[in-house]
Subunit: 305 residues, 4 copies
C-alpha cells in the first residue's frame, strides 16, 4: 500500500488514529444536521461517514446490525410493535422486519437527507425495507416524539449516532431520556441501545456510564459487546428489561430454536454461540462496569472523543 | 490531539492504518535479527515494537499474555514442564511461573538483545521472572532446538513474532514445525500458539490456515480469540491437544476453581466467563474456519501483511 | 489543527509527504484519461487534482501561470500566434489572451471532461477565456497534432501534466517531441515548458534532463524557477529559443516597459524583479544543470515520482 | 514508499502537513529547554529537530547557513568581530570562521546540551569550529547578554529557533530586542536575522512583521529569501544596516570578487547570482511587505504556527 492518495482518519483514542485509504468518493456534502461522506475502500466496501465518523460499511454492517437487533428481539416472547431511534441506513429496520412477529415499526430519524442518501448509495443496507408497509418513518427528534406519544412498544432499539460534544445526540443517552423511553415500553418491554466502544481503552467513555445509568431506571440491564472491524475496536450495547429476568437472560439453546422459528433470512453473525460470546464479558470489563459510578444526566452528559 | 509530532503507523489491512502518537522514544535500534523500538504513548504506556509491529504494551499486555498462557495451562491436569518459544518480553514466562505446579521452563528466544532490552525498559513485563531458577533461557532457533531435543513437555507455548515475508518466523507456523513440536509433548500434552489477527477482515491471513494445519497433526484443536487494543483488532490463538478431549474442553465452572487452586497472583483478564467469551467464536468466524482448506507447509507458508 | 478528517497526501520525495486537509469535495470521479478531484482547503482554496497530483489552486495559481506564460511572451517581439499544449484549467489561456498582440491561440488538451469540469468548478481560472473567439480548442494528442500540422507559431507553451510512469504525458517531454515542436515555430519562435520540481532534492528528476535535452535541439535554452506553495517546492520551467539570443535574454528594465505596453490586466507575480529572481538560479542548481548529461528520448524517458 | 513505519510530521500551514519517514533515530530526549530529536531520513540525511520542528539537515543545511551568514559578512567592509545568537549546530559559526577577516566570535546559545548533542551527532555541521580559539561560547540568554554587555560587533547574526507561542525565543524577535542589538553594533555594523517562512502562504506569520519592525530601528533593511528543502517552503532573512546604504546594497559583481578574496572554503550555495536571486523578491512578496503595518513588541509578539 502506498501513502499518497485520499485518506479518512478517525481518532480511536486521544493519541491513536485509524486511517482508511479512500478508493472512491460516492457522495460528499452537508445536510441540515451533519456532514455526510459515502466512500468506497478496498477492504470495507461502501462506508457511510457522518461528521467524520464511520457509521457502517457494506462489508461488516451485518455484525453490528444483527448484534444490535436480535438479542432484544429474541429475548422478547413476541415482539410485534417496535420503535427504532436513528438507524438512517435502514439496516436496523431490515433486521427488525426479518422477524415474522413484527406488525408495526415506528422509525424516527432526524435527518431525511441521510435516509435518502442511504437508499440511493447504500441500497443493500435497507434491502427494500423502507417500502415495507409495516413501517412508519418520521423525521423528527426521537426524544420529543416519545415524550409526546402515548404508544407502547414491545422493543425499543436505539441506533443513534455517538454522543459528540458538538452534536445533539447526547440528549438521547441520559437518564431523563431513558425514563421517557421506559414509559413507552409495554410491561414486558425491552430497550437496547448502542453504547459506544467497549475495548479496554475506551469503555469508560460511554459504555460503562450508559450501563450504570440504565441500571437506575431498569430492573435488569445486560451489557454485551462484539468486535466491529470498521470501528477498530469492540463495540458495546446495553439490553435493558422493563421486568427483572431470571439470572441468565435465557438459555443459550433457546436462541437457536427461536431464530429458526421466528427469523426469515439466514443470519451471518448472530446465533447461540455468538450470543454467549457477546454476553460473556472479559474480566477486566466486568470489573470496570462494577466500578462505574457515573449517572449520565442532561446536565452531566458523556461525550465520545 | 494535534497531528504534528512523531507517529508510528502500522498496517492493519492493505488499506487501513493504525497510528500511534509517540510521546517518548526510550530506545531505537537494530539487533542482529530485527529492528527494535521501545516507545511511550499516552494511551498504551510503554510499547515494544519489532520490525515496525507492536508486540505488546504495558497497558494491555496482560490481556494478551493471560489469554495465551492460561487456557493451555488450566486445561492441563498438572503442568510441570513447559516450553516457551519466543516471548522475549518475559511476560509469557511470568504467567507460566504464576502456576504453582510448574517445575521447569525452557524458553527459546533467538534474540538475546531483545531480551536484554525488555529486562531493562519493560521490567514489569517479566517482573523478575528471568531470575527464577526454574528457567532455562536459550538464545537459539526454537525449531532447531526442538528437533534435536529429546525432552518432553506438558505444555508448549508459542509466543512468536508474526510470520512476515521478510522475516524467518514463518517456519515456526508450518505443518513440519508442528509435527516436530508435537513429538516433544507428553501423551497428555497441550500446545498453544498465537495465531495472528482473527477479526472479520483478517482471520484468513493466518488464523484459519494455522487452525486447519494444526488439525492435520493434532486430534483436537480449539481456536479462540480476544480483543487486544494495541493491535486494533481481535487476536487469535489455537489450543492443540495431543489427546482427543470431551466435546467441551472443560466445564466453565472448573476454570475458576482451578485458577483459585493453582495460580499465585490474581488474574485481570482470564476467568471462566472470559474463557466462555474467547472460545465462543462468532458465527461468521466459525463458518470461515470451516471453509478453510489451506495447509501451511514449509514450501507453502502464510505471511501477515 | 486536528488530525481526524479527510486528507490528500502527495509524495514530494520518496520519503517525504505533503498532506492537505480536505474541507470540501466539490467533485471526485474518473474521466477517460485520469482521475479528477476538485477539493477545497482552507489554505489553498479550490484545487484541481489529477491522478492524485495537485495541478493548481485558486490561491496560488497566478504564480504558476504568470511564470509559465509571460517570460516567453515578453521575450518575443510580437507574439501573435500561440500554441498551448495542455492547460485544461484555462488559466494559461487567460494569461496568453492577456497579451494585446495575440491574434490566434490553438489549445490542445486531450481530456475534454477535465476542461468542462474546470469551466464549471474553477471558472475563475479561465475567467471567460474559453469564450474568446481567438481560441481554437481541440481535444486530441498534442504531439500527434503538431506532427501532422503545418501551422507555424510564435510561441509554444507546454502546460502538461507531469511525466508519470503510469501516464502517457512522458512522450511530450522527449527529444523527439521537442524536435516536432521546434519545427512548428517561426524563425524567431520561443517554446516554454513546465519542467517539474527544481528544488535541491528534486531537480534531477526532470528539470535538469529536460534542460539538457532541449539544449540538443534549440540554440539557446534558459531554465528558470519559482516557488509554488501548493507544490511544496520550487518549480522549474525551460525557455527555449529557435534563435540564439544575446548573452542576457533581455535587459530587466525592458520587462516592465513591455508589460506596461502589451498586457491588459495587472499582473500579481511577474515583473522585472521577479524575472531576475526566477532566472538567477542558485549556485547549486547551476552546478547541477552543468553536470547533467541525460538526454530524454522516447525510449529513454524520465518519470516523476 | 510505504506508509507503515515511524514518521515525523510538521505543520506548514494550519491545514498542510509535511511528513518525513524516519529511517533511524539517533537521539531522542529532552534538555532543560526543549525536546531534541536527531533523526536520519533517506532524503535529508541527519536532521536536528527541536520541539518538533526541523532546524537543519545534513543534506541542505549549507543553503540555509550560507544564506544566513554571507550576505551580511560580504556586505560589511571588514568584519572582524561577530556575534552569533543561537546556532547550536555550529554551522553558522563554521561559515563565520570561513571569513579570513574574523578575529573574534561571541556565540550565545542557551542550551548547552543541544550544542553537545550537535557536536556528537552532527559533527560535520560545525566541522571543528567549536575548537577554534577565536570563539567564546556562552550558554546564556542572548538578550540578557547583549543588554548587559558593552562590547561592539561588526556583524550580529541571529540564528534563533522560531518564535513559538509555547517557547521563549519570541522575545528575540521584538522591537525592544532589536534596539538592544543595534546598540551593540559598530557605526557601520550589520545585523541579520532568520525571519521565518516567506512563501506566499506564510510570509505574514513572521517575515513581513519582522521586516516592518526592523524598519523602525534601522535606517536600511533588506529582506531576502531562498528555498530550504527541509522546511518545505521559502525561508526569509532580514539584513539590517546601522547606516543607510546606496540604493543597491552592493553591485553584484563585487560579491564574487569579495568571496574570492575573503572566504577560505568554496561555497556551494552563495555567489553573486544567488545573491541576485535571494534579494529580488517576487512581486507578490514585495507588495505584501509594503502593506505590512505590524510592529512586533514584547507585549505584541508574533508566533509561528
Amino acid at each position: 500500500m502506498t501513502f499518497p492518495g485520499k485518506w479518512l482518519f478517525e481518532l480511536i483514542s486521544p493519541d491513536m488514529i485509524l486511517g482508511y485509504r479512500i478508493k472512491k468518493i460516492l457522495y460528499s456534502g452537508k445536510t441540515e444536521y451533519q456532514s455526510v461522506d459515502i466512500i468506497e475502500t478496498d477492504t470495507l466496501g461502501t462506508s457511510l461517514v457522518l461528521d467524520g465518523k464511520t457509521q457502517s460499511t457494506s462489508v461488516d454492517e451485518y455484525i453490528y446490525h444483527e448484534s444490535l437487533v436480535h438479542p432484544a428481539m429474541i429475548a422478547h416472547s413476541n415482539p410485534r410493535k417496535v420503535f427504532i431511534g436513528g438507524g438512517g441506513e435502514g439496516a436496523t429496520l431490515r433486521e427488525v422486519l426479518n422477524h415474522r412477529s413484527v406488525e408495526a415499526v415506528v422509525m424516527l430519524d432526524l435527518d431525511s437527507e441521510v435516509v435518502d442518501l442511504c437508499r440511493n448509495y447504500l441500497a443493500k443496507h435497507s434491502d427494500g425495507s423502507f417500502d415495507d408497509n409495516r413501517l412508519t418513518l418520521i423525521h423528527a427528534d426521537a426524544r420529543e416524539y416519545l415524550l409526546n406519544s402515548n404508544e407502547l412498544f414491545d422493543v425499543i432499539i436505539l441506533d443513534l449516532v455517538d454522543p459528540l460534544e458538538e452534536g445533539t445526540a447526547y440528549t438521547l443517552y441520559t437518564k431523563e431520556f431513558y425514563t421517557i423511553a421506559k414509559n413507552r415500553l409495554n410491561a414486558d418491554g425491552i430497550l437496547v441501545t448502542q453504547s459506544g466502544p467497549s475495548g479496554l481503552l475506551h469503555y469508560k467513555e460511554c459504555f460503562s456510564p450508559i450501563y450504570r445509568t440504565l441500571m437506575t431506571i431498569f430492573p435488569d440491564v445486560r451489557p454485551y459487546n462484539i468486535h466491529i472491524p470498521a470501528f477498530g475496536t469492540m463495540w458495546g450495547f446495553s439490553l435493558a428489561f422493563a421486568e427483572r429476568q431470571e439470572s441468565e437472560v435465557f438459555d443459550y439453546e433457546a436462541v437457536d430454536r427461536k431464530i429458526e422459528e421466528r427469523i426469515i433470512s439466514t443470519l451471518k453473525a448472530y446465533d447461540s454461540v455468538t450470543h454467549k460470546h457477546m454476553f460473556s464479558l472479559p474480566l477486566y470489563l466486568r470489573n470496570g462496569l462494577d466500578e462505574e459510578t457515573r449517572i449520565v444526566k442532561d446536565d452531566n452528559p458523556v461525550f465520545m472523543i
